[in-house]
Symmetry: C2
Subunit: 304 residues, 2 copies
Amino acid sequence: MEPFEIHILGCGSALPATRHNASSQVIKIGNKQFMIDCGEGTQLQLRRGHIHFSFINHIFISHLHGDHCFGLIGLISTFGLLGRTAPLHIYADVMLEKIMKPQVEFYCKDLKYPLFFHNIDATKHAVIYEDNTITVETLPLKHRIPCCGFLFKEKLKRRHLLGDVANFYGIPAYMRQAIKDGADFTTQSGEVIPNSRLTRNADPSRSYAYCSDTLPCPANNEYIKEVDLLYHEATFAESEKERAKLTFHSTARQAADIAKEAYAKRLVIGHYSSRYEDEELLLQEAKEVFPNTQCANEGEVFHI
Amino acid sequence: MEPFEIHILGCGSALPATRHNASSQVIKIGNKQFMIDCGEGTQLQLRRGHIHFSFINHIFISHLHGDHCFGLIGLISTFGLLGRTAPLHIYADVMLEKIMKPQVEFYCKDLKYPLFFHNIDATKHAVIYEDNTITVETLPLKHRIPCCGFLFKEKLKRRHLLGDVANFYGIPAYMRQAIKDGADFTTQSGEVIPNSRLTRNADPSRSYAYCSDTLPCPANNEYIKEVDLLYHEATFAESEKERAKLTFHSTARQAADIAKEAYAKRLVIGHYSSRYEDEELLLQEAKEVFPNTQCANEGEVFHI
């Protein structure tokens, strides 16, 4: 199967800490690369992770708190210094373009590539990106300012044509796509070979959901049902549940509740408050509810 | 003597590299802390260096290239999150305030501290900051956009009153400042005690000059003459002299020429191009001209 990888560039929260960077991830699906959030220092993390700058064409910003977008102007500038020519698309709340306008005018007037801002309505569940193999949907979240998660889903894939059987029946090249889509094959003598003898099952269509920063939002469970991997913020431990509520964040246990209720296959937690020396407590609390939980860490790659 | 320290937070150049951060330094003089430049990631470097955020009240920005100022908005926001109430003063080209205006309006409307932008005219040598013990002067530099260096100078200090002698003559407290300033003392019996018997020499007034990014500017030598420590950019090795000229940067040897011609006591080079695996070549080339040269590195502290 083609790669479907989540590269963690940063999984800390708002206050700078020595152990974690501000939020950012790169999602590699096949030969495409997408970025989610772009906190300060993201370009340095790309370098450290040996991730190709030039393959990133789409950046999705969950919300406009600084720890999720202050790295954008540096990245945009660096793309320019590196001689980029491919268009760059940024998906974010409508305010981002306004906030960045004078910066973009000052720093980007000599850019050799077009820069597009696409407005996201964080209150609605909608498909905001689609290509031949994947879709990206927004997941409305509950934070202090407009905020949404993102659901990356592979489209249904074609069945695998069995090479030896295809050769045996002499199936011509022009018919093979139709057979991968489920068609039977009729030989020159009129014999109908059912598709099930010509193909094997398609690879499963994989999915990844990113939910940060938010109060628990069970309303999204219908969209993320049986998701292969759920990244959910877990800013606080259970002892800080009240603080989580006040600041519109989740505890690790609440993240695990969402994973359990949505029948997610795996949970990765992140966006840790800088008050925690390590994430052991958060991991334990999540695992009590949802055992298949892991902690995100800078430089780590999760394969789906 | 009170501390006079240069804390290197970042000494790389424009392109992100794994070994160096974007430009920033903290200058500690006595109990005061000043920041020069604030590239992306500066607040993380402050954390790593265990430098108190709250003691920084004045930030001097040499020019508006991103690797010297993209960390500002993050630092300003973090000051707010940390509950800062003391005013913050930023000294920079007039364009900075304009570029940052919508960001400041969006992110800083709830700040509990006043934020002041002070415009610098980078073409002029001028005192832009002064308090009871130090002055900061601009050093006009030659870069692709308006750019200046900064000269930190301690004012002339008072002489040290010799405690035992002062007690012997019963010098009252209210006269001691005048004696530290050079006055003689007349006893009740009319005997004049010359100042030289009451005091010893004042500590020397120390100085630090920061020159980045620039073509060599010998015109500043008169201002930085005999400076205790000169930080000068050395983006390139001598083999890239033409490229240095084209991009308005200096080679390590040119930095050393300036140090030598200005009779600087020590030279620290920095702002290394990311093309160099290490700085050995740059250091060698500088030392051939000016032996008392050191390389800046993140986390390093230079004591004056």
